[in-house]
Symmetry: C2
Subunit: 377 residues, 2 copies
Amino acid sequence: MRTIKVNLGKRSYKIIVGTDILKELPKYISALGIGKDAYIITNKFLRIKYGKKMEEALKKSGFSVRFKLVPDTETSKSFNMVNVVLNDIAGYDKRKQIFIISFGGGVIGDLSGIVASIYKRGIPYIQVPTTLLAQVDSSIGGKTAVDLNQGKNLVGTFYQPRLVLSDVELLRTLDLRQLKAGLAEVIKYGIIKDKQLFSYLENHFLDILERKTPAFTFIVRRCSSIKAGIVEKDEKEEKGLRTILNFGHTLGHAIEAAGGFRGYNHGEAVALGILCAALISKKLGMLSDESLLRIESLIRAVGLPRKIIPRNRFLFDEGLQSCGKKLTLSGILKAYYHDKKFKNARNRFVLIQGIGKTKIVEDIPLRIIKEVLRRRI
Amino acid sequence: MRTIKVNLGKRSYKIIVGTDILKELPKYISALGIGKDAYIITNKFLRIKYGKKMEEALKKSGFSVRFKLVPDTETSKSFNMVNVVLNDIAGYDKRKQIFIISFGGGVIGDLSGIVASIYKRGIPYIQVPTTLLAQVDSSIGGKTAVDLNQGKNLVGTFYQPRLVLSDVELLRTLDLRQLKAGLAEVIKYGIIKDKQLFSYLENHFLDILERKTPAFTFIVRRCSSIKAGIVEKDEKEEKGLRTILNFGHTLGHAIEAAGGFRGYNHGEAVALGILCAALISKKLGMLSDESLLRIESLIRAVGLPRKIIPRNRFLFDEGLQSCGKKLTLSGILKAYYHDKKFKNARNRFVLIQGIGKTKIVEDIPLRIIKEVLRRRI
């Protein structure tokens, strides 16, 4: 068990990373003094698998417990679901001192964060991430986003949790596709900030895919530290420092969106986005052939996609999956132009000058973006 | 025209108070550099009366303009309406740089503030308050609240505007009931913080009721300064300093709520709440007979209610108005216990030791609260 501190003045909090530490959650919450009524947002699977133990442990420590189950799909990441959960809390909240526990992956974390940030102008919340992606990325930093009927990720807040508890044991039952999706973000951290982490992944990716606890512990700690360090310096993404976390996400989001969010998942799309960003860096003469090759090799080795398949059906680990839309170059470009990070008709990319070294570049010629995407399709 | 600065570091902004200054709005917005697409949230009446001129002036300065009309009722102060407006903005927002102008009273200000705070994790907004209550109070300080189906004022944020422009000319067409409602808050400022303002009101209340511009200018400036000073010291109501602004609001809110929000309006309920809080102060030996009498006299003089009428119909300036619920002592007490400021089963009141001098007191015996309410019913 180890603690990483996120230093944000009055909004500082700890990230606890360890093995089989879920049972210690009540102890950590008690120490925070944030209330006595736990409102746990989770899904049915997690409720069945861990809910009873969690409830017993919390009650033993004097907390009341209420579970709110939400669907384990993107529909939970919507403003409509925010409305549903807020009304549920309000109906339950008679002279209580509620705090929220987000117990799930990125979707549940986003939903919980925004609900906590606006209910009564902000109540405390705790992140207990259960996926690799959530443990290494989305549970840390307080950035939330949910969808409107009119578009994805359009509503959100910056609102820090009071604690992040990452029990890597929870990752052992994660399905392989989700594990790989999380790995895409881990690879991203290596590329933007940590050569050593990148080398570790090259040497130990099999340990991760085989769900070995020490490997999980190593990468979750390392990534949590990197993310914490970046968030500390640029909490609200005002200084451009936090921007480097978007490496691979500009075209990644566009690929995700062009597939109607039912083709590639976030991590898979980010892997493709990483490859595109690396290739753009190479084309602009910023990145060596050798570094590009290392990135491509690692992504191939862990089994993340390297080619955008322009079909509306994909073969994933679980079998053939239908995608809402056929992925085309024009579809990706359209989604890219619609992206909210697109300011003043100038584009803006996080590129790399080597593994561990980023550079923000604006006004990349559309010709180059198209070329790179074409090479991937 | 005079400028009051709200000093909040990076979130600092100006309050401009003056006569016939609405036409200068584009100039002030240009100076802020907050975008080029104005999204104006307002109601039908204001759209018809001022919309065309506003639109022309903004377009002349290079802004695009879109109006979003919302009903001029409490239904606009709801989370459901937040959803409606967010989707409208998202549908409109194709490669735009949108900022919001809140053009209306407190309801429109609350709605605009929360929408601005969560759309894309926060876009700039400007307050152009059109009622006395909004000019002296709700437009300043960034505190917003909207209703859920499950209860009133349960969702909100702290999110500062980038500018407040108070044109007192807009108050000249305000109906008398709304004018008086705003005066209740002005009286509150005098009582909690400014003896001179209180004396001014005693001597000049007729000028205000007769809508004289110099009187409007004086009170809006004075109250804006007081509010700005308090908000500067305790932006997020963490230090208890901002709490004094709740003087008269604890029982005021309960009276408003017990009437189903269709009996006394906010200002009228606050006037009754002020009288109750003054009477409690008197009963606890903190307030002199003379000060209590001055407060009662001023409230009577301006024509605000001094007695809680336990009926379900009220005679207002505009005639007889039906109220949703019959106001009873038990109804008020029930609403009071449900109030979100009620912490750990301890009550908490802002009381006064004289005009201009507050004291926060906890654990007031229920007996005294009941006695005071009974004297008012």
